[in-house]
Symmetry: C2
Subunit: 205 residues, 2 copies
């Protein structure tokens, strides 16, 4: 039992790094098992299909990222100014991508963005899961934008739409950080976020 559940975790970990590095379609179950160091037969004991593994990888990655985002974006985390918390979210995203690049030589980008463009037309289960994740991200950003608006820090009126645009800008810049293998591409995120939110001049410096 100990060994068995260990194999399940190894498959999940191998799936996570392989999906991040090479996407979904390029991979076969045999290769994932080889990377995990488990016999191919044991794959189907844990996962019904490669798609089921992809969903498990997405869920695990989101559980982790949601903890991070909650920590950074919540007022209890330290910064009381809502906009400062958003700024920290971009800084930590950039730091995370930089660390990944140092580890494997290339900017891997956002697993959810990667899978959205590769797979959303291919499997409804993955599409739905990714929609839920981005909805949750937008909701978290919206809460902070609403706080900022209530304090008069930003002038935007439709906070939900603004939050969507902030997340879209993040995904677009992460795409370019990946394509150009250059995390410096993320440096305009903060000033763009202020512009998209209609931040008062004091914050634009």
């Amino acid at each position: 039992m100990g060994r068995t559940s260990d194999a399940g975790e190894k498959i999940l970990a191998a799936g996570r790094s392989l999906f991040e590095e090479r996407g979904y379609s390029a991979l076969g179950v045999a290769e994932i098992c080889r990377a995990a160091g488990v016999p191919k037969g044991s794959f189907y004991y844990f996962y019904e299909s490669k798609e089921a593994l992809a969903l498990a990888v997405v869920d695990e990655h989101w559980a982790e990222q949601r903890r991070e985002w909650t920590r950074v974006l919540s007022a209890a985390g330290g910064d009381t100014e809502p906009l400062e918390r958003l700024r920290r979210l971009f800084e930590e995203t950039e730091a995370g991508l930089r660390a990944g690049q140092q580890g494997c030589g290339t900017v891997l980008g956002c697993l959810f963005g990667n899978l959205s463009l590769e797979m959303s037309n291919q499997t409804e289960a993955v599409r739905t899961r990714l929609q839920e994740i981005f909805d949750a991200q937008v909701e978290m950003v919206d809460a902070v934008v609403t706080e900022a608006r209530d304090r008069g820090d930003v002038t935007v009126t439709d906070t939900r739409e603004a939050a969507r645009s902030v997340v879209a800008q993040l995904e677009g810049q992460v795409m370019f950080a990946k394509l150009y293998n250059n995390t410096g591409r993320l440096s305009p995120l903060w000033s763009n976020c202020l512009a998209l939110l209609g931040a008062r001049a004091a914050h634009s410096v």
Copy 2:
């Protein structure tokens, strides 16, 4: 000769729609030939590899899109106001995605963005080509932003960085239009563009 070159075009056309619908890794040469209605043997007469076909598809798509962008963004095209031309670029992008969705039931997104996230870590040839295309897009947007700045329509100082952010916002919103299969996701593009460029109030209405 007539028949032979016809087969080459059929392979290119099939590659184009299959790469747009399903990405790169999910496809095999045999399937592309089946869709093109040509014998598999003839593939290698025209293309050295699937990667060579992908590059040809990318080049053909960009030649077409560049003509469109040049038409829309050039002052000779009709609109003399630079910001109006940018606005038209977003409108035509949305119309194009909507037409595609009506044709095949789903928003296919941006072929260059799709391949950037799926393939830029996999093949340097594709990465380089996509970088050149996005560089060219940014340069075209930059030229219009510079015109707008020289007229005093926008306040942004680093026009290259601003153009990159406008293209990133476009790619991010197109990602969500694809993920949610909803071209309505593109509607904030124009007001976001104005915000990112620091447009004067007259244009923000």
